[in-house]
Symmetry: C2
Subunit: 711 residues, 2 copies
Amino acid sequence: MATYSTNKRVKKMADLNGFFNPRSVAIVGASKTPGKIGNAIIKNIVNSGFSGKIYPVNPKAEEIEGLPCYPNISAVQDPVDLAVVTIPADRVLDAARECAGQGVKHLVVITAGFKEVGKEGLDLEKKLVAICREHGINMLGPNCVGMMNTHARLNASFSGAYPKQGDIAFISQSGAMLVAILDWSIKTGLGFSKVISLGNKAQLNEADFIEAVAQDPGTRVILCYIEDVADGEHFLQVAARATREKPVIILKSGTSQAGAMAASSHTGALAGSDLAYETAFRQCGVIRAHSMPELFDLAIAFSAQPIPPNANVAVVTNAGGPGIVATDRVETSGLNMARFSKETIDILRKELPAESNIYNPVDVLGDAGADRYHLALDKVLADPSVGSAVVLVCPTAVTDPLPTARAIVDLHHRYPDKPVLAAYMGGPMLSAGAELLSAEGIPCFTFPEPAIEAISGMNRYAELSKNKFAAEEMEIQVDDETVRNVLSAVRQDGRLVLLGSESYQVAAAYGIPAAPVELATSPEEAVELAEKIGYPVVMKVASPKIMHKTDVGGVKINLADADAVRRGYIEINENIQRYLPDVVIHGIEVQKMMPKGVELIVGMSRDVQFGPLIAFGLGGIYVNLLKDVSFRLARGLTRREIETMLTETKAYTLLRGYRGEKPADIGTLVEIIARVARLVTDFNEITEMDINPVFAYPRGASALDIKITIS
Amino acid sequence: MATYSTNKRVKKMADLNGFFNPRSVAIVGASKTPGKIGNAIIKNIVNSGFSGKIYPVNPKAEEIEGLPCYPNISAVQDPVDLAVVTIPADRVLDAARECAGQGVKHLVVITAGFKEVGKEGLDLEKKLVAICREHGINMLGPNCVGMMNTHARLNASFSGAYPKQGDIAFISQSGAMLVAILDWSIKTGLGFSKVISLGNKAQLNEADFIEAVAQDPGTRVILCYIEDVADGEHFLQVAARATREKPVIILKSGTSQAGAMAASSHTGALAGSDLAYETAFRQCGVIRAHSMPELFDLAIAFSAQPIPPNANVAVVTNAGGPGIVATDRVETSGLNMARFSKETIDILRKELPAESNIYNPVDVLGDAGADRYHLALDKVLADPSVGSAVVLVCPTAVTDPLPTARAIVDLHHRYPDKPVLAAYMGGPMLSAGAELLSAEGIPCFTFPEPAIEAISGMNRYAELSKNKFAAEEMEIQVDDETVRNVLSAVRQDGRLVLLGSESYQVAAAYGIPAAPVELATSPEEAVELAEKIGYPVVMKVASPKIMHKTDVGGVKINLADADAVRRGYIEINENIQRYLPDVVIHGIEVQKMMPKGVELIVGMSRDVQFGPLIAFGLGGIYVNLLKDVSFRLARGLTRREIETMLTETKAYTLLRGYRGEKPADIGTLVEIIARVARLVTDFNEITEMDINPVFAYPRGASALDIKITIS
């Protein structure tokens, strides 16, 4: 008997304090020549205002950027916390060893020419990692742009753009995209805390940095662009913990077939299937952005505004059209239009002009000045049913964009627990107001939809967090010994696919309710087994080689007595000999004939990154046609997640009792899914598993056809 | 016998030449007082540089804006082509009559206080329309911002913003949104040809203006924001013709339940169901934008670039990450990543650095200058398989954003038939290049996704156009006389729901293959009918009151001889008397028992705006659960549309032969759908119709259970 536990640590947390806050930095490969990366880096470190010691290392220079230059890192007498390496690839290993000798604990390897150029580069990279491991060095890169910590005024990168200080940590697997975003942020005023270019992720990867910045008080939001994760299990653990601290928003590319191909040719990374990523992100509370604009809209919202207490949005507008557009988007984004309390409606009716719409969206009319906006926004934010507000402003002859912006800022401060976002719809007529809002931390968009989408993302975070906090792992008693024995017998028999009787034993050992199946090798044995199991029974030819058993007369159903079983055995045998004379059969399986229930499927496939993925949905022969299936990672699956998983399918409508049928036993189905998850987590050698159908009944359920494949 | 025709005109085309290009404009209610609408309008007309005559009308002024003022419109001696009315609502009718007396043919009524304020306003509005109709006046409004024709340098509106001249016509049901967009366009440089604020759409509506600008050589793209259409049939006809001339892009709001409520409280318009709009837009070739950003991204792309000859996109980038992001979006937007010809690949391999990715996306590497971009883009645009190109530029140390922009512009001119769009990802480092691109008509975005989405919209237009041009209406022979007789008999019987035998007659008269049903009122008659129809038969109690006939013992299947039929009749009768003693039954229906086929549904519901909407999909008792249904408007439905309709369902996978089954007879299904569409178009009194199931066979098909409800 074993107990279900997934929280074993797979990787120790890297101590990156000295990495982000070094007292001294050496630049191995610093250069005097403008245009060279080694020159850009030293200039960036000096110009960012770093207050620690800076040691340029270059045997060919005496001083660089006014600093004395060292011929090699060993020549630096004082301790070096961080070394940035930007010499050619063939000399990086020596430099790493030298750094190790000098006691350097943190390395940023900018140099390219490793894994991304092929086999030789990969070998070099492996050697580099080995050196770092041996000496307890944390290494970022190789093939990266570098890193920044704006709070330490440190720009240890060759990026041409350096952002303003802020509370967004940005971790990017694409260096070019990182520089692009930083340059763009200068235009938009977005502020960053830490910026990390992951490069080849040879040692430190996205999970290490998510873990580090999750504990960084200077970081409020974690933003990632990734093309893959380096280690699925480590990522899941780290991300699940990080999302309890602060929002983690990830744009994961390579989602399409062609995108994944482009991704692998780019970084040589093996992209996991997108479904597994989607599931993994949801299960550990990560907000997934689906485009670059969405990633940054979310970043802006999360960094400046509180998490909404509920999904109900109030919209205040000075024009009807944009109010309708906003309302549409609220409803398609998993949010609700708030229904105001009677008090709110009464006071709005009293205080606003008669022609105003006092229901949601509140239309304060085209002649509204700042006062009227202030009044309406104040009242709706005060309403306990309202979780967030969006203010829409169109230019009219009397629009007062700047005072209205001040009114919004004021109310943001009065209601600090409810997010307020704005859409200032226009150009020059509204720009002063829009700029004030952005400067004061009110995300301000040109159109209503991105504002609503941003609230939707924040609400998703709130919901995911709620789910996670409510989660408890399930205690399950199992008999893993029996399963081990069955699998080893199958292997000894030279097979990879279990017979029905073997699958039944496995299921039974893990407490999965299944219709008993036993293997008979003679008509008499079949009768004996049928008597034991109880009539009526089903008989099926036992051979993993035969796919469509019915078509070759290999199945008999509803056999009600010994005579029928005996005859059934003989007829099946004859049919197989006639249709498939060359196929060796293991015998004939006798299974309890079960009454028909709601036909479901519970299955499992394995993802290279995230391990077993459990599927649940409508079963039967149309599974692949109807595709009514929802997925979860088996690892750490909680009762709550399984319940949610069920509700995501159309099958759930059947289970609740469709067209007057009795509701099915949901509890038993949850139990089955949990036990399948446990089974495939305990036994890595189970590569595929399908139970189709599972019949669900008003009381209980029964697994009828179980297929298990092992490696 | 009748012939299928839907192209009857419902409304004559309005001659709006004098409206858009008046030789003279009168402003009834012109004012000297700054801040008043009457002042804003006269100033706008004067300041926009209008070269025609301008007549301010106001009894209290002698001159306004340096122009002599008239006490009333009758005092103007010269002919007036267009009058803009902005006096209080209670005096608008008089003004309209006066205008009519003066021979004015075009009216813009700015004044509010009509339909939007309730019953009284609606009455006033109706009278206003009556006056206009009587005198052949075209009237825009009331309750609108006005209109602009930048090519005639005419700003007959009170908008505070006036856009630059361009080739986008913008028609908006929201005045505030229109002003917002014009103000925003000043920032972005978007140019407009004609701008129309629809207001209450009392007379002229979106369809009239779409029709007008479709023929305007100064307009290349038609953009609409609407909350409803005024007249579904008119809209369909106009839009279908307009989209043959140029793209029509519509943002239709009020799509959600709450949005529609907001819409009706706003304009008092009855919003049609969103499904009907979605279907109508697609069937007449309208591109639907789903957000304001998308509406304008599409406008920019359509106005500056050609329609792509195919769906294959080439991506040229100087960084891997953005290339993957673009690739992902290509695949989720209904586009394909182009596969280059061998020639293209060979030349790219020869000319680009060895580390470049020469497949799609083409990665010209971070050190690419304008030359390398030019080379790569030239080669991919020359490839016949490529339909469009997206150029991604990230800032790097060597990025040359301005020369690269020039290279892109040059190639746009060399390949005028393939759209080229760009994403300049960054801020200050790239802004000069981005500005040049926008100025030269290359849509330039900050992120890759909007560029791809814009191409996707253009490609949708190309596909919709292709479908439309290939469309031919179907010639169908029907017997409408019989249907008329059946329906009138049902009505005389005081019923609204047809019996099975009546529905069968209707279906048969329209050539819909159905399993014969006849009504028996005695056991003997039942036997007689069964003998005629042929055994085996099904018997069902005939009563529209009984919903679940099986549950009350009202159905017997597979009756193979006279004796079984006789017994069946008596038993059904007894069952009904036992279970539902109070229900009066019409008799018992005898129907041919058909072999089981693929179970489908063909149905119809009526939309208030667009008329009958035909549904097709998986049939059976799980129709509402599986929701595997596609829709088309019955009006003008073509064979090609029906075929596409079938392919949109999962049922289609079954029809093509699933898991080794024989394919079903698609031709017969197309015929059934066409005939149902014809039936419900011919007979408006059929309010609902459901055939569930239709059994599809390898040869032929059969309608089994037909429910028809009339009004």
